[in-house]
């Protein structure tokens, strides 16, 4: 679809805003509607749009399948790791109260429940983005058998 100028240029204009919106949904999810899952699918749809227009090869240069593969697991590790961190700090699994701290509190560095939710949502976002993108790669990379 690279040869259609309208599609190509509109895609190029749209993708930054889709990415920005995905990050807004991710990091503003504690205050407004949204969260990790929504942000993940929006981010993945930006990658998929890029792949649709510029080809599978182009998008795999931006997000190599090997990296995506590892990110799939990284998100869950980040989520569960937060749980183990709170256990290590003396609380229960996923007990965010243990993450309370006063470090740079004036600069809006999240602490306690806020930090816990932030980390966990990041984990969800990473896994969902990676899984959606990987499924697209697999479908798009397959050749017709018969």
């Amino acid at each position: 679809m690279k040869t259609f100028p309208i599609i190509r240029i509109i895609t190029k204009i749209l993708i930054p805003y889709i990415l920005l919106f995905a990050f807004y949904v991710q990091f503003h999810g504690d205050y407004g509607p949204g969260g990790g899952f929504q942000a993940g699918v929006i981010l993945a749809s930006a990658l998929i749009l890029y792949g649709l227009v510029f080809g599978l090869h182009a998008v795999q240069r931006v997000a190599p399948p090997r990296t995506i593969e590892k990110m799939m697991a990284l998100g869950v590790i980040l989520y569960a790791g937060t749980g183990f961190l709170t256990m290590f700090l003396g609380g229960h699994f996923l007990d965010y109260e243990m993450l309370e701290h006063d470090w740079l509190a004036d600069y809006g560095v999240p602490a306690g429940q806020h930090l816990g939710i932030f980390l966990v949502e990041c984990g969800v976002g990473i896994t969902v983005t990676a899984v959606m993108t990987m499924i697209f790669y697999l479908f798009a990379g397959r050749r017709r058998v018969a």
């Binding site: 929006i42 998929i48 090997r66 965010y96 306690g112 499924i135």
Partner: protein, 192 residues
């Protein structure tokens, strides 16, 4: 005015659904499922569920449409014509539909303050969340990520498992990274 929008969206939903069922061209049917998802997303937005609307718009209208088109590339885009009307499946579908419709009669009306979901256990969360979360205003996020943190961990793991399953099933031919190691392990996993 609001009624007008409600009814037009619901009417479009029904029209789209019937069109999808009647279409024999799968390519057009997939486009219509995209439209259907987008109407669903608009409907979710009217019901004050913007996060569900985001998901529906991105997954239903976007990603799954692309995946279905990808599938269509691998299969054909026509289904065989079927002239005969089969009575048995039609009756089964109509009966199921009527039962489901009858079931909704027992459900509370939209935005009914006496609905069970608004009585238990939600008020306690609404009252407690602001204090428990130290001023984090979004109750939906606090319930999903904090009070129900275990569930969300499980859901994320389900997403990961689904991704791994699709990789095991579909990854046969070399991807552009050309990793023979991943291929071998995928093959091993499939035979186990």
């Amino acid at each position: 005015m609001s009624f007008l929008i409600d009814f037009s969206i619901l009417a479009f939903l029904v029209i789209t659904a019937v069109t999808i069922a009647r279409l024999r061209d799968l390519w057009a049917a997939i486009m219509f499922t995209g439209i259907y998802s987008f109407l669903c997303a608009s409907w979710m937005l009217i019901l004050d569920a913007p996060d569900v609307a985001f998901t529906e718009a991105a997954v239903g209208a976007g990603i799954s449409t692309v995946l279905m088109l990808g599938t269509l590339k691998l299969t054909g885009n026509r289904v065989p014509q079927c002239k005969r009307v089969r009575i048995m499946p039609l009756g089964l579908v109509i009966t199921t539909g009527l039962i489901l419709g009858y079931g909704t009669l027992d459900m509370p009306h939209f935005a009914d303050p006496q609905a069970p979901i608004h009585l238990y256990p939600s008020p306690s969360f609404v009252e407690r969340a602001l204090h428990d979360m130290h001023g984090l205003p979004n109750i939906v996020t606090s319930i999903l990520a904090s009070y129900r943190g275990y569930d969300t961990l499980g859901e994320t793991t389900v997403v990961l498992t689904a991704g791994i399953a699709v990789m095991l099933i579909l990854r046969r031919d070399k991807t552009s990274s050309g990793d023979s190691v991943g291929k071998d392990s995928a093959g091993k996993g499939a035979t186990k």
